[in-house]
Amino acid sequence: SGEKNDKPKKITLDYAYYSPTSLILREFGWVEEEFKKDGIEVEFVLSQGSNKALEFLNSSSVDFGSTAGAAALLAKAKGSPIESVYVFSKPEWTALVTNKDSDIKSVKDLKGKKVAATLGTDPYIFLLRALNDAGLSADDVEIINLQHADGAAALSTNQVDAWAGLDPHMAKVELTTGAELFYRNPDFNTYGVLNVRSDFAEKYPNQVEKVIELYEKARKWAIENPQEAAEILAKEASIDIDVALKQLERTDYSNSLPGNEQVEALQAAGEVLQKGTIIDKDTDLEKVVAELINPDYAKKIIKD
């Protein structure tokens, strides 16, 4: 429609410690620089987690929000009008962790054990999928609902036998207590996706593309300057540089175009969530995923 060439007065993006490229963007001020030309104001808002980013999106407090793919799927399934238009990383931010001298060596050993996880989040989905893979179900283990940081502490103090961990907590316990990541599987992570509010995307497609372009720029910079990227992360999130390096080491920036990979990963995650009654049984998963993953904007920018 004719409105498509309109420009918003202001664009609000979030930045998050789990999205290093957003930190780089903010650090260098590229977004401000870009939109200044059009006289558009830019504001950065910190998201402390996917849940916050989604709350901000829902309340129109931000136009772009960074979340885990599964979180976006959950929100979309409950009716949030958002689209995932870009993949900011394929992080391996979650894995199953146990203490150094534990006798748990594989997922199978978890049977009957206490496992900490935060309900509904990526680590939780990861745990369910890992259990599923190993022929176990959620009922075979005792899942303790703890916030990520608390889960790390509970593991360190042996109150749980294992923990579905999340970075940077995971990197930190790895370094400090020698905790072991006994089960890793990058494909069970649901990617880090950049979401945009549907009505914003519909009104201002050009700006959406521009933001993706800028994210691409940051991605390339991060690939070229891993050490500096880690320093930015360490400084922003006030974590040790070692932890930052460890976290980035597990982050894969190679593919940023949303597509089949993501659809499959989310589909699988969705099924697990449906089994756990976190998503309604009668939700049409395929449709939701299809509506969520929207590669159209990114396709125009990312040619290769």
């Binding site: 849940n51 989604l54 829902n58 309340s59 979180a71 959950l74 929100a75 399934a77 409950k78 009716g79 949030s80 009008p81 900490a116 935060t118 309900l119 509904g120 989040t121 303790i144 609902n145 703890l146 916030q147 940081a149 608390d150 502490a153 509970a154 103090t157 109150q159 749980v160 976190i278």
Partner: protein
């Protein structure tokens, strides 16, 4: 008082009670529901015309549906029961400690100088900040949950007890002193009864904080409870569950508060105060 007229006058009074009292209670209850009902209706209408979006702020009917569905599948009572039990125990512990420590601090200036500054500092620490510490110290069992609730309850009760004690009329204290009461007797027979009004305010304030702390407490590895429902609702982006648990907390909070208010009215019947006027 002639013994003849007694039975008659008693009978008359009883009748009057029966006639007037019930409608009055009803009237009070009706008065109290005007504003909530108005808010509910407004919310419902706003939802129906689409101002409030369903995925953010589902209509009251949907929230009610959610609650009813939990009633139907029988899970609700479990959640309510667990939370009520935690609050009951945590509340009792918190109030108990507050009475003991508050009495000592209120009574002994030295104890006040020693302990009060620390307690006033701790008082400002939010529930969320306690969570990791409690997990560290006490693990993720019931004890840490109950203790956290007790902590929440403790501070307002403590504050009101100390203030109540320090506000007791010197004239009454002196009466106790004249009878050579020991400090314990003085506290028990004069100071505590005299500070009872303030104590009850503290109790009610504390109960409110108990409810507030329940959510933080049930962040610590709970698998049941209203606070747990709230957290699950937030983690799974289910606004209906979030609102349902908020509504449940509000209702239960109000009910438990009313219970204490009733005890208060009984215990303070001797007060000759403004509140008894109208």
């Amino acid at each position: 008082m002639s013994s003849k007229s007694e039975p008659l006058s008693q009978r008359v009074q009883w009748k009057v009670k029966n006639r007037i009292r019930f409608p009055k209670k009803l009237k009070v209850a009706l008065y109290g529901s005007v504003v909530p009902i108005f808010l509910l209706v407004a919310w419902q209408i706003l939802s129906m015309v689409g101002v409030l979006e369903r995925h953010l702020m589902p209509a009251p009917t949907l929230v009610l549906e959610k609650i009813v569905s939990m009633v139907v599948d029988g899970t609700l009572w479990g959640h309510i029961g667990v939370t009520l039990l935690r609050i009951l125990i945590g509340f009792s512990i918190g109030v108990g400690f507050a009475i003991v420590i508050g009495s000592i601090v209120g009574y002994l200036k030295k104890a006040e100088h020693m302990m009060d500054p620390l307690i006033q500092g701790f008082r400002a620490i939010p529930s969320l900040a306690w969570v990791p510490l409690f997990i560290l110290w006490m693990g993720i069992g019931e004890s840490s949950k109950i203790t956290l609730i007790a902590v929440g309850v403790f501070f307002p009760v403590y504050l009101n007890i100390v203030a109540g004690i320090q506000g007791v009329d010197r004239k009454l204290i002196e009466v106790g002193k004249i009878y050579n009461f020991t400090p314990l007797q003085l506290v028990r027979k004069v100071i505590l009864p005299a500070s009872l009004p303030s104590f009850f305010t503290g109790i009610r304030s504390g109960l409110g904080l108990g409810w507030m702390f329940v959510v933080a407490a049930e962040l610590m590895g709970a698998s049941k409870g209203i606070g747990y429902l709230l957290v699950v609702g937030q983690n799974t982006y289910s606004p209906d569950l979030v609102l349902a648990s908020i509504v449940l907390i509000a209702i239960l909070g109000k009910l438990t508060d009313s219970a204490i208010k009733m005890i208060e009215a009984k215990a303070l019947h001797w007060q000759d105060s403004f509140g008894k006027l109208n």
